[in-house]
């Protein structure tokens, strides 16, 4: 005959449908004789039934849709990783130290980088909402230490927790200051001096038929080649150590830092400054045409927005124009897309290219850099006081539709010069 504790287990297994017929009959036999167990059995069955009836809760909205921007970002990072690995190969003279660093596992790059990694992971996993934000980084403390200070405020109206990411990255950036201190200068020089002789570059982006065209039609080669050089830009050195992207990106993190004065890097620098000089030229042309067309509007708004849209050439419109046109968006996934928005006082330029936003000051210095996932940028504009740049970003879903626009705000601090 079984004792009560043994029966207790049988009862439990009974409600879990884990008993065979013989065991069930043993159980029933005991229950007939033992009122305590019999009572317990009733309670247990009752509880189990209640547990089975617990509400089958559903998420309020599709979680997959909600994380799509982060997933896109993961893909982008992977792409870039692969791209950098491709381009990082041979026949480049690399200084000893960077080379050594290149080969080292990511985590051994030192406490600073490890901290960045942790920050990255934290942003990536702890606040999934903020992964997109995680790639917005503060740039160039080395610059700020030299000639200006700069503060970035990032906020998204749709996401509460994000603003807190800025301070932490800022602190961290400061930490890298000494490490990168000897390199940015060279990079700066390259950037500042090259643009003059880069006249050919504007042809580089091949015109596309429509702006909305899927990026899939863009040769992936172009994709992979065009993205990595941006790392070579001066601010990229720190950017990528800090970012949420660091979580997954070993190579880009070490790369830009590693090769500031190798053959390849000047090239990429030149490439990017190409675009910069081109942009500034174009931008001015735009301004002019814009002024003739709509100068009154522009003055009213004290805003100047110049926009280069694919093969449509350059378009200039004021903010009202943009809004009333139901936002001619900027598709970040297009490899040859380019749009720039200047503040009225010419102190800042916000430049959108494929998958990124860069804010320059009047001296073409990169103040701010952000990686964008596939999506549509709308309503880019500088605030009335020229201090804040805002735009709306709708990330692209897998099915090609666009998500809810999120408001992004960037506040560069004016340089003192």
């Amino acid at each position: 005959m079984m004792n009560c504790p043994e029966v207790m287990e049988l009862m439990n297994r009974y409600v879990d449908d884990d008993l065979n017929k013989i065991e069930i009959s043993h159980l029933m036999e005991h229950l007939k004789q033992c009122s305590d167990c019999s009572e317990m059995f009733e309670r247990l069955k009752h509880l189990s039934a209640e547990l089975e009836n617990m509400p089958k809760v559903m998420p309020k909205f599709s979680l997959v849709d909600a994380i799509m921007p982060q997933l896109d970002l993961l893909d982008l990072e992977q792409q870039q990783n692969a791209a950098v690995r491709e381009t990082s190969s041979p026949s480049v003279i690399v200084p000893m130290k960077p080379r050594w660093r290149d080969r080292m596992p990511f985590r051994t790059l030192g406490g600073v980088v490890a901290a960045g990694f942790i920050v990255g992971l934290f942003l990536l996993f702890n606040k999934p909402d903020s992964v997109q934000q995680a790639d917005m980084e503060l740039t160039s403390v080395q610059e700020s230490s030299a000639d200006k200070s700069m503060v970035m405020n990032e906020s998204q109206t749709l996401d509460k927790g994000k603003t807190s990411t800025a301070p932490s990255t800022a602190t961290y950036d400061a930490g890298t200051d000494t490490k990168a201190a000897d390199e940015p200068n060279k990079a700066d020089n390259l950037n500042e001096t090259k643009p003059a002789d880069q006249g050919k570059a504007p042809d580089e982006p091949a015109p596309k038929d429509t702006q909305q065209e899927k990026p899939a039609t863009v040769p992936s080669e172009q994709d992979t080649k065009s993205t990595p050089p941006t790392k070579g830009e001066k601010s990229g050195q720190q950017d990528h150590k800090v970012g949420g992207s660091g979580g997954e990106q070993q190579v880009p993190t070490t790369k830009p830092d590693a090769k500031p004065d190798t053959k390849s890097d000047p090239k990429s620098d030149a490439g990017s400054s190409n675009q910069q000089s081109k942009k500034s030229d174009n931008g001015q042309g735009n301004d002019n045409s814009g002024n003739t067309d709509k100068s009154s509007d522009q003055e009213q708004d004290r805003r100047s927005i110049s926009q280069e849209v694919e093969d449509k050439g350059f378009e200039s419109s004021d903010m009202m124009g943009l809004m009333s046109l139901a936002a001619p968006g900027f598709d970040t996934s297009l490899a040859d897309a380019h749009m720039e928005v200047r503040s009225e006082d010419k102190a800042f330029r916000a430049v959108f290219d494929e998958h990124k936003l860069v804010v320059y000051n009047g001296k073409k210095k990169v103040l701010y850099k952000q990686t964008l996932t596939d999506g549509m940028v709308t309503n880019p504009m500088w605030s009335e006081d020229q201090k804040t740049f805002t735009f709306e970003f709708s990330s692209k879903n897998a099915d090609g539709t666009f998500g809810e626009p999120e408001l992004m705000t960037i506040t560069p601090k004016k340089s003192k010069s």
């Binding site: 009733e42 547990l51 809760v57 998420p59 979680l63 997959v64 996993f125 999934p128």
Partner: protein
Amino acid sequence: MVEQELIRAAQSGDRDALITLLRNIETHVYRTAYYILNNEQDAMDASQEALIRIYSKINSYEEKAQFKTWVQRIVTNICIDKFRRNKPSVSIDEHELVFQGDDNVEQEVMSTYVAKDIQEAIEKLPEHHRAVVVLRYLQDFSYNEIADALNLPLNTVKSYLFRARQQLQLLLHDYQKGGVR
């Protein structure tokens, strides 16, 4: 496509298949998170985190395990981590688990617990007991599946589940005794 095909497609780089797969499991993921964390917002956060992890780690899934237990392992791990960060749990041993006497039985046995009471009672369970209960009752997992998902020995799963039930009963019993009903 059945799940197995979707998984294979996803593992070979078919992004759409992977997204479809995530859509198929998101409710299950959320449900587990909701009942372990007992909070909608935390559950949202945790299940999104879990889905992202599944997305990026899909290639580490091996077919020798069931996909659903692999998924639940990911989400319960995330939840238990969160849970630990949020609040210290009470050990189940702090409650004396004794058989109830026969003095106050009948009408209580037959009365119906309110779902909210059950949820509150579940919240009082230690993390692993809670996870076992959630997998058993909300995911309909067998002992073995729970053991796989939580990486626990089969006997441990059983003892957690049995003890959890016993404690739930005590807690709910207390509610009814002290409550208005």
